[in-house]
């Protein structure tokens, strides 16, 4: 063997040995069991660093397999719907609360012999469902001397005088929010509580109760105060605390989110007014973050063992103490309830004093169906970029996902579709979707790409027309998809922002613009500026995920 060849072979051998000795070798030779966990996003700040620390520490199952946890935050109900549809196959589902488990089991049983969640999953952390409200507003309602309840919220939401009835005309109308009950647990909790309040009951809800016209009327009235829905409770909290009382007066969320905001405010990281947790006097629900190792065919014994090991880690004292810092109440009763769980952080651990009974699965499903019928409708303008640069995959994906998006809307919703290149064209004017669903699908599917990009003009026109023709008692929104930079508008970005920007006490009720930066040539910064000026949201997207993005936007309505 030549000396050089020998050296080369030695070098390669040395590298191979080195690789075998470190991580790659372990991956190749040793076995790793992957435990996938989908969880409610409200505990993201707690779970993410813990999962990373757990993985770094190299835990093993009793059989010597290395455990790797992979966590994904997702709306609790959205997650279970995907599990039942078979598109998501995690080892563990940890929703924000147990409320929806009976419904999940009932739906799973339609195609399986057993329950999806068996036994009694352990709670990871606790937090009651509360109404978060700006402290001066709560005080205007008589809090803390007067206990407030769901009925007070309902009365306020349905009172056309809004805050002026309480001596604060400068606060405008009462702007209320909860998440979408088709996607998120706190949204389900909110509509269950509204139903109970409408019947003046605290337990024993039946399907027959739902036929009572008074309940329907009551829920519809409360929902009329909603500014928009949304997929995740954490996101709702973020919005409310970032945009202030002109955007939302109060929202249904979890106690821990109030504590987290107050910690931020007290440390100087937020300049908002103080916020307090209202524990509805009729009772509420608990967010208990159950950790359910799924009784599903895809979960292996090794995954189950790994999942249980991670559960034990999360319930261990240091991790439970970490949860308190973030505003959760510990699941372990051996750990005392200490700061920041205190009045300084807007909460009272002696509350709640009572709960509402969790109804059986069929009643929960009945209430979800009732809500769909009475929820606040949306007046929506879909604006789509049909410039020449959309050719190929882009226009195909955009057309298909816009049709899917329209299908997520209710027949009572009103829709206008605008296509733009260097000119702005209305494909269908604002009118109820029920009358034209098929026509809209046909028109959208027939869109052809050509020409330039007059983004600002298109948004300005959509906004002006929605303001003129939309019903201010509906949620009003514009969803814009664009793949390029504006080249052909007669107006400037500054002029557009001035025209659509919402400020003042009614900003929560103003028209929201949601923007999708589509593909690499889009201008996300400009689209973000447009969205945020209105209280909307900007998303980055490509032909692969655009339908998912549209789906996410649909949860606001």
């Amino acid at each position: 063997m030549h000396r050089r060849t020998f050296q080369a072979v030695s070098l390669w051998l040395a590298i191979a040995l080195a690789l075998a000795g470190c991580g790659l070798g372990e991956q190749l030779l040793g076995k790793t069991v992957v435990v996938s966990i989908v969880y409610g996003s409200e505990k993201r700040e707690w779970l993410e660093p813990l999962a990373a620390a757990y993985n770094a520490a190299g835990h093993e199952t009793a059989d010597g397999e290395r455990i790797e946890v992979q966590i994904t935050a997702m709306g609790s109900i959205e997650a279970v719907n995907a599990i039942i549809a078979g598109t998501l196959q995690p080892t563990v589902w940890s929703p924000a609360s147990s409320i929806y488990i009976p419904v999940a089991n009932a739906e799973w049983q339609q195609s399986h012999a057993d329950d999806l969640v068996t036994g009694s999953p352990k709670d990871l952390v606790l937090s009651p469902v509360v109404v978060a409200m700006w402290k001066p507003m709560a005080e205007a309602l008589g809090w803390p001397a007067k206990a407030l309840g769901w009925a007070d919220i309902a009365a306020l939401a349905t009172d056309t005088a809004g805050w002026s009835g309480y001596g604060y005309p400068e606060w405008g109308s009462f702007k209320f929010g909860h998440t979408h009950p088709g996607y998120s647990n706190s949204g389900v909790a909110a509509i269950l509580a509204e139903t109970y309040a409408g019947l003046d009951k605290q337990r024993g809800l039946t399907l027959a109760d739902l036929n009572n016209p008074a309940v329907r009327e009551f829920v519809a009235a409360v929902e009329s105060g909603i500014i928009h829905y949304g997929t995740s409770t954490g996101f709702f909290a973020e919005r409310m605390f970032a945009r202030g009382p002109s955007y939302l007066s109060a929202a249904v969320m979890y106690e821990n989110l109030v504590v987290a905001q107050e910690s931020k405010r007290l440390s100087g990281a937020s300049a908002q007014l103080p916020v307090v947790a209202i524990y509805p006097q009729e009772g509420t629900f608990w967010s208990n973050h159950p950790y359910a190792v799924l009784n599903a065919p895809w979960v292996t014994a090794a995954q189950r063992a790994g999942a249980e090991d991670f559960q034990a880690f999360l319930l261990d004292t240091p991790q439970q103490l970490k949860a308190i810092e973030l505003g959760f109440r510990p699941a372990d009763p051996a750990i005392p309830l200490t700061a920041p769980l205190d009045a300084q952080h807007g909460v009272d651990v002696q509350q709640p004093q009572t709960v509402l009974e969790v109804p059986p699965a069929d009643v929960i499903q009945g209430i979800q169906a009732l809500w769909l019928e009475v929820k606040k409708p949306v007046d929506l303008v879909a604006v789509i970029d049909v410039s020449g640069s959309m050719e190929g995959d882009k226009i195909t994906a955009a057309r298909a996902s816009l049709v899917q998006f329209v299908n997520l809307l209710d027949g009572r919703d009103q829709l206008q579709v605008i296509a733009f290149n260097d000119t702005v064209t209305t494909l269908t004017p604002l009118s109820p979707l029920a009358e034209k669903r098929e026509d809209v699908a046909r028109r959208v599917s027939g869109i052809i790409e050509d020409g330039g990009t007059a983004l600002y003009d298109a948004v300005a026109q959509a906004y002006a027309e929605l303001e003129a023709n939309g019903d201010p008692d509906h949620i009003r929104a514009i969803v814009v998809l664009s793949d390029g930079v504006d080249q052909d508008s007669s107006s400037t970005l500054d002029e557009l922002i001035r025209a659509i920007g919402s400020t003042g006490e009614e900003s929560g009720r103003a028209i929201k613009v949601f923007t999708i930066a589509f593909g690499e040539d889009a201008d996300p910064a400009v689209l973000k500026e447009i969205a945020e000026a209105t209280g909307g949201q900007q998303y980055n997207s490509d032909p692969q995920n655009v339908s998912q993005i549209y789906g996410e936007i649909a949860t606001f309505f």
Partner: protein
């Protein structure tokens, strides 16, 4: 004297050889053999394996006590004892034995209720009972803990004053079924009245609770009869009304106690649990939410953790002896003291004083824990108990 030395040597060799041969034939001789050589030459004697099906409530104590028992290197006929443990629900234990799914040497459900049922059902099925509580050599209680009520003091006192009187179950029934809930007592902020006990089909404490409810309706503490359960319409209505107010029946008594402490007064007003379960959480409950207190119903029933060697063909005499040695150890002072001081059970062994230093009974008096017990109800025959379980299962709505 070389000859004598020779004789001694030969004599010793013969004895040593005999011991080793004897040890090969029977483990009794094994102990006589020279230890280092014995371990080198002789195969270890086969252990006597006894299997124990036990209920989960005593798991922590049992594992600790059995580890200590094994430290004493117990033997039967020179053979060591090996214990195979399986934890199960109390009802599962007797069903597994009856159906032939398990053939244990020894069983220990949470109470004599299950032994009574197994006695009746096995007699009916096999012509002879698999267990006989009258035969105290083979079947006897090992730990005691009564069923108690744990409640928020402020709320309990609104309901029954300083302490529950003879009408406590009736008061609870009336409070539970009233749609006005706590409002009828001037406390609308407490919502509806929330009582919790476990699923009687899955957990002994739930079973004990429905037994006490039934006795209390008939205003007696013994002589409950199947005909009363099956034919008394007043009882049936009363019982179903009360049970229908409970929206969820869990599987574990420990979870109820944990939940009332972890969630505070919003979740449950009153739960029926074991005294030992309440003691387990007593320190955690202090200063957390309001004052949580333990109350004794006017008559109660004991979770007495009987250990019974099965009267079955598959239990060999050696296994029987080994099992009895274990029962003796568990009722002896060290294991009983461990059960009291660390786990809050009442000792069976009279030599262990209940209120000694370090005992929970010396610490939690202010929280309602007391040495004196109310009268105990009679454990009905298995047939009556089975009728009660069956009635509950047929009539009480569950989610």
């Amino acid at each position: 004297m070389p000859r004598l030395n020779w004789l001694l040597f030969i004599g010793y060799s013969v004895v040593a050889l005999a011991v080793f041969i004897g040890a090969l034939l029977s483990p009794v001789f094994r102990g006589l053999a020279y230890a280092p050589l014995r371990e080198l030459i002789l195969p270890p004697p086969a252990p006597i394996v006894i299997s124990l099906l036990y209920s989960t409530e005593k798991e922590a104590w049992l594992e600790e006590a059995i580890a200590a028992f094994e430290q004493t290197r117990p033997t039967v006929g020179g053979r060591p004892i090996a214990i195979e443990l399986s934890a199960m629900g109390s009802r599962e234990i007797y069903l597994a034995v009856l159906d032939g799914d398990a053939q244990p040497t020894l069983i220990s459900p949470a109470s004599s209720l299950q032994i009574s049922i197994l006695q009746d059902l096995s007699t009916a099925r096999f012509g002879a009972p698999l267990v006989n509580p009258a035969d105290t050599t083979n079947c006897r209680p090992v730990l005691n803990t009564p069923l108690v009520l744990v409640a928020w003091r402020e709320r309990a006192e609104v309901l029954w004053g300083a302490g529950p009187g003879p009408a406590v179950w009736q008061q609870l029934h009336d409070a539970l079924i009233d749609p006005a809930g706590w409002e009828q007592y001037g406390h609308p902020e407490w919502g509806y009245v929330k009582f919790g006990h476990t699923d009687p089909l899955k957990s002994n404490s739930g079973f004990m609770t429905i037994l006490l409810l039934s006795y209390s309706y008939f205003n007696k503490t013994s002589g409950l009869e199947a005909s009363e359960i099956l034919a008394d319409q007043g009882y049936q209505q009363w019982f179903i009304e009360l049970e229908s107010t409970i929206s969820e029946f869990g599987e574990s008594t420990g979870t109820y106690m944990r939940d009332i402490v972890a969630y505070g007064p919003s979740r449950y007003d009153i739960v029926a649990v074991y005294e030992a379960t309440a003691i387990e959480q007593a320190d955690n409950a202090l200063g957390r939410y309001g004052e949580l207190r333990l109350y004794y119903p006017p008559a109660t029933v004991m979770s007495d953790h009987p250990f019974c060697v099965l009267n079955a063909a598959w239990v060999t005499p050696d296994q029987g002896t080994a099992a009895r040695l274990l029962i003796d150890y568990l009722t002896d002072q060290p294991a009983q003291e461990l059960a009291l001081l660390k786990y809050g059970f009442r000792p069976i062994n009279p030599a262990v004083a209940l209120e000694q230093t370090g005992s929970p009974f010396a610490r939690f008096g202010a929280n309602g824990l007391q040495a004196d017990l109310p009268p105990l109800v009679e454990v009905p025959p298995g047939g009556v108990l089975n009728t009660l379980l069956d009635f509950w299962s047929r009539t009480v709505p569950r989610r």
